[in-house]
């Protein structure tokens, strides 16, 4: 019984945003929260554009999503890989992948990538 409640709660937590971001375009609606960092500093944070990217991805506009926030689009498969390896039996089937993609050096690389993207998107674009 308790398990069902948990699964239901998690389901709503996942499905509600998907429905929301599918039907409403963050570009044209005021209902979506704005980035605090962008409002305060005028510079984009590494996550800016991810809401628009979600909307684009749900409508299968991969290129457009990439344009809104490339980092977000790149990291989705990475996050999915991590969740698969840890919680869906992936680490038993591919024991070498977890230390390779989620080891110490992977963490350093990811942090560097985020920092580069953060600086880069404000300097270049």
């Amino acid at each position: 019984m308790q398990k069902k409640v948990w699964i239901g709660a998690l389901g709503i937590l996942f499905v509600a945003p998907i429905v929301l971001y599918f039907f409403f375009d963050p570009k044209q609606n005021e209902i979506f929260p704005r980035c605090l960092f962008l409002s305060l500093t005028g510079y984009e944070c590494p996550g800016c554009g991810s809401q628009r990217a979600i909307h684009d991805l749900l409508h299968l506009r991969i290129l457009s999503a990439f344009h809104e926030n490339a980092l977000f689009v790149i990291l989705i498969p990475y996050i999915a890989l991590g969740i698969y390896l840890e919680f869906f039996g992936g680490k038993k089937r591919f024991p070498k992948l977890l230390p390779l993609f989620f080891g110490k050096w992977a963490a350093v690389l990811i942090l560097l990538l985020i920092l580069l993207f953060w600086v880069g998107r404000n300097v270049v674009f």
């Binding site: 937590l13 945003p17 209902i31 929260p33 991810s50 990291l75 840890e86 110490k104 963490a107």
Partner: protein
């Protein structure tokens, strides 16, 4: 004389204690203890140096105890080597990148604390500091958990906020929003 860590009834690690001061702690025969040079935690009554704690006549059993070099003392059960504690590196990395890509950069700091502890776990384990590795593992777990709950609460609040605005704007607002989309 060795310095010992032990795991109390609540599962918390305590230490270090000399065998003498260990006698004043709430140690039972089955309490797990560890000291430098051991490959894993062992029951206190299996350590020759600690035998005297459990006998009413100190020294009596101590003299009969097996010499410390006996392999049996350190290979209790079938696990010869203590397994490395979970590093929580995967959880910490996710707890770091999720706030970053969802405009919540500040919460990434929690994940980074997790990453630092997670990388300590392996390093300490390799150098043989098992008790410290366990401690780093606990820290990494704590920070990953804190970050995860903040993320979940943040997501719920955001959804509630958006739903609240939709209710506030009303059905007419949704109509125009839909036709605009």
């Amino acid at each position: 004389m060795n310095q010992y860590f032990y795991i109390d009834s609540e599962g918390k690690q305590k230490g270090t204690f000399s065998p003498e001061s260990l006698k004043n702690e709430a140690i039972k025969r089955e309490t797990l203890v560890w000291t430098q040079g051991m490959e894993q935690w062992v029951r206190a009554d299996e350590v020759p140096e600690l035998q005297f704690i459990f006998s009413d006549a100190p020294g009596a059993t101590y003299t009969q105890a097996v010499p410390p070099s006996a392999g049996a003392t350190f290979t209790h059960g079938n696990a010869a080597v203590q397994p490395m504690p979970k590093t929580y590196m995967m959880e910490s990395i996710l707890a770091t990148i999720l706030p970053f890509i969802l405009c919540g950069c500040i919460f990434s700091l929690l994940g980074i604390v997790g990453i630092v502890n997670a990388s300590k776990v392996e390093q300490l384990y390799r150098s043989g500091a098992y008790a410290e590795a366990e401690e780093a593992s606990r820290q990494a777990k704590l920070w990953a958990k804190v970050a995860m709950w903040i993320g979940i609460i943040g997501a719920i609040l955001t959804i509630l906020l958006i739903v609240g605005i939709i209710m506030f704007v009303g059905f007419a607002g949704i109509g125009t929003a839909l036709s605009a989309a």
